[in-house]
């Protein structure tokens, strides 16, 4: 990774420290600054309230020309997070063809928070969960809360 990219990551970390969206914490390891561990609380107004989620933000070598890669390390029942051991996300900003270098990690974190409050069923990575979210909201909420209890306490 170029020194420019490292400098930018450092700077973004600094900015995050000063202006951190509520309910988030970043574990930053200076030895390995290209992988951030983010602890995100389920937003109060969402079905994930009370849950604590561990996420990984991995910066590719070409950062910021390519988007960071986000994965949920804590299992979550959500239409936009892949329901496997990877917990991957691929929408909006995070898509390589949508990402623009002036976008920042903090925008990515905000996007994730917004998605926890309001999942985007039209751009879902898990269509079955998206269908449930659209057609049987009660069942969806029950499942999501179950998973919070099981995995995210």
């Amino acid at each position: 990774m170029s020194t420019g990219a490292k400098k930018r990551i450092m700077r973004e970390f600094g900015e995050c420290q000063n202006d951190m969206p509520a309910g988030m914490k970043i574990n930053f390891d200076e030895q390995n600054m290209t992988k951030w561990e983010v602890l995100m609380d389920g937003p109060d107004q969402s079905v994930y309230a009370g849950g604590h989620f561990k996420l990984e933000i991995a910066f590719p070598n070409e950062y910021p020309f390519k988007p960071p890669v986000v994965s949920f390390r804590t299992k979550i029942y959500h239409p936009n997070v892949s329901n496997d051991d990877k917990g991957s996300m691929c929408l909006g900003l995070l898509r390589p063809d949508e990402w623009k270098p002036p976008n920042k990690v903090v925008a990515v974190l905000r996007l994730i928070q917004t998605l926890l409050v309001e999942p985007n069923a039209d751009d879902a990575i898990e269509p079955s969960i998206a269908n449930e979210y659209r057609e049987n909201r009660k069942e969806f909420e029950k499942n999501a809360k179950d998973w919070v209890k099981r995995y995210a306490k």
């Binding site: 020309f65 496997d84 991957s88 390589p96 002036p102 990575i125 898990e126 269509p127």
Partner: protein, 476 residues
């Protein structure tokens, strides 16, 4: 005449003005004289018509207004200051200058014989911002180059002194280290732009050589946004950033090559060491990139062509029904005259010939065709061979933007691209969206639809090799 006393009211005024305007100069002689140059940067760029060609240029900066002041001994109590206004070259019409000069007397009267210079300068500056009330001026063409040169120099000087936060490295940078994109006015630091564009051009990703600002050029209207190529930077602008001439040449050549390759009416030279395109008026050879200031020199896209026309695959599919002299093509690189139907060297216009078919491919062509078909997934719409370098198996074709599955090359609904990977009925791709996110590996692991075949080939070779190794031992 008496010498001027140091506590003269006039000297005091001039000293004050110098403190306010660093560029204000004066001389203590008799009479007192002073000079200041005033920037003319109208809020709305002033249209200047150059005669006799009637060419109109909108200039954001015009040559400065020189103000020469002479203060008579009776100033300020009993005489107004005497002023002279000039511009070099003289672009400001005489009647405007006269009007501005008259204003000093009016101001002096209005202030009842008080020091009036600051007010007058302020008035001139405000008038300059409004282009002195002018809506246009006409000038002889002989002054055009001076005026343009001045305007662009001022623009650069003022830009260089500003400071910008580069959106890429997030560092504050001096304007002199930054570049303002011509079309959209977004500013980034030169180092970051060089970094990004050099990399795009090195990788052949020329369609990304455009502004990096989020949402730039997007109108929200998909039909308009699809014509993305219109927003590419021009070779001329790339040279200003600056990128190296070689890189810019490569950029222009790749763009041209892409156009040529997408055009089924173009035949390629049959000499295997050449393979140049046939000569054509449609895509002129690039001679001087520094003059290419359109982002698309071949801008007139054949919009009337049906989008679904499949791209020609390999040299075997030439338009049939081309007859007589229409078959003659000349290679733009090696000048070989050849027949675009049978791909032999030119046989004259009376010879009947058949399109060359696949069995006649040279061994080399066949080998590269095999390689391409084994190591790429074709786009289901335009059939361009794609290789994944990064990311999940939901692909968007770099040429026609069709969504498809990298594993089986199936077309995907752009509104629900992930459904495909979550349907247990589609066994081959079920839950394999994130397989091989790192892209295809050079050591032979390939995620595309013929990956299994490749792997089989590899193991077959391995088996042969092991067998070969073991055989000599058996001979003992």
């Amino acid at each position: 005449m008496a010498d001027i006393a140091p506590d003269d009211e006039r000297i005091e005024e001039l000293n004050t003005l110098q403190a306010i305007y660093p560029e204000f100069t004066f001389e203590i002689s008799n009479p007192l004289t002073a000079h200041i140059e005033l920037l003319v940067a109208p809020v709305k760029p002033l249209p200047v018509t150059f005669e006799p060609e009637q060419q109109v240029e909108r200039l954001p900066y015009l040559p400065p207004l020189h103000l020469d002041i002479t203060l008579p001994p009776d100033y300020p109590a009993n005489a107004p200051p005497s002023v002279k206004l000039t511009t070099t070259p003289s672009w400001l019409p005489e009647h405007v200058l006269d009007r501005l000069v008259e204003e000093v007397r009016a101001k002096w009267k209005e202030y009842g014989g008080m020091a009036v210079l600051f007010n007058y300068i302020d008035y001139l500056q405000e008038a300059a911002a409004m282009a002195f009330g002018l809506t246009e001026v006409s000038l002889p063409t002989s002054e055009k180059s001076d005026l343009l040169e001045y305007s662009s120099r001022m623009k650069r000087e003022i830009f260089d002194k500003e400071s910008f936060d580069c959106g890429i490295c997030l560092e504050p940078k001096k304007g002199s280290a930054c570049y303002r994109l011509e079309r959209c006015s977004h500013v980034f630091c030169r180092a970051c732009l060089q970094d990004f564009y050099n990399n795009c051009i090195r990788e052949g990703d020329v369609d990304n050589v455009k502004c990096l600002a989020p949402g730039c050029g997007k109108t929200g209207n998909p039909a308009v946004d699809r014509r993305k190529k219109d927003r590419l930077l021009s070779p001329k602008e790339l040279l200003q950033i600056p990128l190296s001439l070689d890189t810019v040449r490569r950029f222009a050549n790749i763009k041209r090559k892409k156009k040529i390759e997408a055009d089924s009416s173009i035949a390629f030279c049959p000499r295997s060491w050449c393979q140049g395109a046939m000569r054509t008026q449609k895509y002129p050879k690039i001679t001087d990139v520094s003059q290419m200031d359109e982002s698309d020199c071949e801008d007139d896209e054949p919009a009337e062509l049906p989008v679904s026309t499949p791209a020609p695959e390999g040299p075997e599919r030439r338009p049939a029904g081309v007859n007589g002299m229409d078959r003659l093509a000349v290679c733009e690189d090696c000048n070989l005259a050849f027949c675009r139907v049978c791909l032999a060297s030119w046989h004259g216009d009376f010879v009947r010939c058949e399109p060359r078919n696949e069995s006649q491919l040279t061994e080399e062509d066949q080998a590269s065709l095999n390689f391409i078909s084994k190591n790429t997934s074709p786009c289901p719409d335009c059939a361009v061979p794609c290789q994944k370098s990064f990311g999940c198996n939901h692909m968007i074709c770099f040429q026609c933007k069709t969504h498809f599955c990298y594993l089986c090359a199936a077309w995907l609904n752009p509104d629900h691209p992930y459904q495909h990977f979550n349907d247990p009925k589609i066994k081959a791709c079920f839950q394999r969206l994130f397989e091989m996110v790192e892209g295809d590996q050079p050591e032979g692991r390939f995620g595309g639809r013929r990956g299994a075949e490749l792997e089989a080939d590899f193991w077959e070779q391995e088996a042969l090799r092991i067998q070969m190794e073991e055989e000599p031992e058996d001979a003992h």
